[in-house]
Symmetry: D2
Subunit: 345 residues, 4 copies
């Protein structure tokens, strides 16, 4: 198995740390470059990074010198977890310099020629890459993105429903974890004994990204899925794990059994980071719960529960995933594995 | 001003304690009897009660001897915060013995001849009392109830919309506080770093109670409001204050301005416990928040925010109220004040 | 009663907000000036301040224009809650310009000629003011300070013991609230499901301030109390209320009864903000608790519990106070009231 | 490697679940019997147990039928996590029936002939077993215990100091996790935004157990260590991980370097569950923290930090360990591994 040399842009942040943790011991990737803001550049990673995950910084990266976030970096692929305000310009530079840029940032997600991927759902959107290269003159480089962490939690069960029954409307209310805001992120004074009814920019992202992900590739473009989406997004006192309360109106009649079946049987992939079960549907009335279910499938499984007929729409359910694994770093790594399997990298 | 002698059923529980706190210094009521389970009966209230509210037990009730929960009690009115499994039989006994029973329990809420009151919204439902007395042979006694704590948080803005525009459908997702489960209630092991997607019996209560509250009195009966309701109910890590994320489809067209106006101008009452503003609509993007807004109007105001046009339905908003004040004890006390004003007591 | 015109330095911060809340309706003070960093200056207080306390900004201050933190300000007295890095220079400017500066900052606390006050304990330290004015050439102005919020919670019971029995050694371990770090302060990612064993600069402050507070005024100087102090300071997941676990070795023999008596009988004051009980000693085995006891005496009472003989030292106990009231703004206001009573202002 | 058949008493509780999780895949043990209260007996483990740990119930035990807690059970060894009120009688029955009883309960810990073990510290206390069998007439059976979860966190660094310098006095203040109280355990209403200054029975256990653990075996008895211990025990809002703030007075002079060395070089063991480092001493000023350090060494390492000279005693430090692994189930399993290595089982 070929080992690719990997660089991480934004290596000291919350998602950057998760990239490092998840890539430690990965058979296909070796971290050879770490880039972060000027404040960190020039220090060893161990000096530059205020590590916030359980356990220690993996020994293999402790002594890597952090570099400025500019090409060239000594690597074959870059993972980007840059804040969106710097991502647009910087990721472009790397793509133009010939790097596959696998980005967790929101900057390019909605651009017409950039794949917004959940590999199990829309791997065929990779066909955009040729058009992207041509249009933007990137040469060997390109950009692919993964969705917003909240979208990652409920797009999979919706994909199952869309494929089998067609969706007319979706109303989703999210209860999102603190880690989704990065570090320092949410002040404890704001969230202790509290709920925040607002996450800047989140509701529009959630409403539009899911339409693109479930959209159809046609002639170098993605036709967005034609269902309407309403999102209300809350921050709650949970460290990791986004919960989504979903109601969905379908185009075709369906029984509860068929609905469950569509999710359970939705095919997964056989990539290194793929979970054994892409979507698990649980019976217990009080599941899914973030603390108990976020680590299912090493944080890559979507857990669905409380799936019932709804009084207003057709069905309601609760979906949950790990927001910094399936919703961020794990998702980007899965994208890279897919690109290798499809021989695009 | 006449002072009524009050008894509290379930005086040592979470809502019972809140009754005592809110009645301390109330100009119309004096606590003269406290009743609780056999375990407590025969002790002074100070001995029997594990007081969980800030501050001390009001001196006026410390030495009252707790009695068994059976009539007669030395009082003119009883407030009941009995658990639903014992409430049905016990409240009946008190009504039959001639007491006005002002109940926070769920047992009788949906009975056809029992008012389910939010005084600002449906005071005319009090006309059921005559039918109730006749049908049940209660004599002077009767039962009135207040709604489930989650319903109390979003029924008021819905009432404003129903009255002005008519409602077709409501989809509500609640984020409910720990205190709603009483004491000991939710184990810390279950809710720390977690969200619970299930509250036993809650979703059906929320879906049906709001239809009755907004229903129309006709000939000794309440015709339920004809809109459909879908509720998903979550427990989150907040001590007090239930938050509701609401989407609503209206029967008539309306502008955002009219919608805001309908809520802000919805008339309140002038009872002792009425807040200055029944419904407050706030502009700040990150409000309402439980910790900052639950005590608005001494816990009796409904705070609405994030009121916007919706992609799927007509409008979305977030509503919040204090679940053990407006959602329980405060609500029952307001009912008693209404009954006095209307000379039913 | 004369009303003094008051300015607040650092008006938009956590303690500044608490000043405004506590001064609202105060019979001796009227807020006439608010000063904050350049970012806020020139805006109305309502625009400049991200209000984080329950309830709304008091109407009386909403429209006051925030000014830069420089004399002159249109007021008779200034309260300062400046961060320590700017407090030293700025408070000096105000004192030199003739203002009584009543400071919650740590900058001047340990200076030999600056009173570090807990009015109930060491009001005679006010005699330093004459020496201070002379030495520093302040004219009418002067600086007085109140202690660190952690010290405020356990210095009062120690004062009771020192006065009656003499103290040889104190070992104190604090469990401090999130609000003590201001806003944004502690990131939620750091304190959720966690304890922080380190608060920058806190342990030395705790160890030295208590010796000065319990010290003796002699000839224009404070002779520090001669007992030794060891402090370990932790941050825990509590919004307000610092808890201190104390062991103390006394110079004289004493019975548990005498020890309790020394605390309960320690005389309070009759100032406007004085609590009815300066120190309350509670019997219940599981008290004091921050959430239940921090608001005792409107946040100005010290609650002591779990007072027992100790295996290693003489006695152990747990003390608690509200860190932003008794430990900060409330304490400074009490200092101002004392200065007025003593006709120093 | 011989595989022993294991039974678990109290299998459905918090510690019982942790036993099952830690024994899953263990090379020396196979779970063959699960016993729990009458309510659970007769159901499969999956039916009987409200599993509260991350991940699912290990498949190997899902279908084991839960039996009443009485001998005989189909196993070679029993692990007990019974509540102390039933442990005394029940563990005796099993010992008398010939089973090695490896208990996490407090019932027998302080009995003169029962080893109270931390294998790295006092494995020689196993010599009590012969005396125990003789005195109690147990035949092949016997009882060994592991310490209280709070003691487990700070006894190891004290052992290092006692062995090298001798200890005169210890003052310890603990900040204990919620999981230490089992399930349902601490009500969320009690610990949210709060600290509890009291854990029933904990302070005396902490004060006496450490003296026995560091005591000396002599002629069939343990001579307790002769230092005095003072403990104040708090419950804080942390799921797992007990923190201890320690001051210690030594018998011999020592440098900080020697003190650090004594801990770092304290020898560990080479048993299956032994961590690579028994005691880790960390430099970072804000460590150890429960969330970041409790899983060090798979929950079996003791992390020490903030080790400094003290103003009152000689040294102060903070010690942390995982209360349900090193402080409970992991500790008992380590005891079993030690007993096998020493050929006592």
């Amino acid at each position: 198995m070929k080992v690719y040399r990997v660089g991480i842009l934004g290596a000291t942040g919350t998602v950057g740390q998760r990239f490092i943790q998840l890539l430690d011991g990965h058979p296909q990737f070796e971290i050879t470059a770490l880039a972060a803001s000027d404040r960190s550049a020039g220090k060893s990673y161990a000096e530059a990074c205020a590590w916030k995950l359980c356990g220690d910084i993996p020994p293999a990266v402790r002594d890597i010198m952090v570099e400025p976030i500019d090409p060239p970096l000594d690597c074959d692929i870059v993972f980007s977890s840059l804040p969106s305000n710097v991502a647009r310009e910087t990721e472009e530079k790397f793509a133009r310099a010939g790097y596959p840029v696998i980005s967790n940032s929101s900057s390019y997600r909605m651009d017409g020629d950039i794949p917004l991927l959940i590999p199990e759902i829309n791997a065929d959107h990779l066909r955009l890459i040729d058009f992207q290269r041509q249009k933007r003159g990137y040469g060997d480089g390109f950009i692919v993105t993964n969705p917003n962490c909240a979208v990652a939690s409920f797009a999979p069960p919706l994909a199952a429903l869309e494929r089998r029954f067609g969706i007319e409307s979706v109303i989703v209310t999210t209860l999102q974890a603190i880690s989704g805001a990065g570090y320092p992120g949410v002040p404890a004074m704001d969230i202790a004994d509290n709920v925040l009814p607002y996450i800047s920019g989140e509701e529009p992202k959630v409403e539009t990204e899911v339409q693109k992900i479930l959209g159809t590739y046609r002639d170098g473009q993605i036709e967005k899925a034609d269902f309407t989406v309403s999102a209300q997004c809350f921050r709650v006192h949970v460290l990791d794990g986004h919960t989504a309360a979903v109601r969905v109106k379908l185009k075709k009649n369906s029984t509860l059994e068929e609905v469950i079946q569509s999710m359970v049987e939705f095919p997964g992939l056989e990539l290194h980071s793929s979970p054994k079960h892409f979507i698990e549907v649980c019976d217990e009335p009080s599941r899914p719960q973030p603390r108990l279910d976020r680590d299912r499938g090493a944080g890559m499984t979507i857990t669905v529960g409380r799936l019932f007929p709804d009084n207003v729409f057709d069905y309601r359910f609760v979906a949950l995933s790990h927001n910094t694994v399936r919703g961020a770093a794990g998702s980007a790594i899965l994208n890279a594995e897919l690109l290798i399997e499809r021989r695009i990298i």
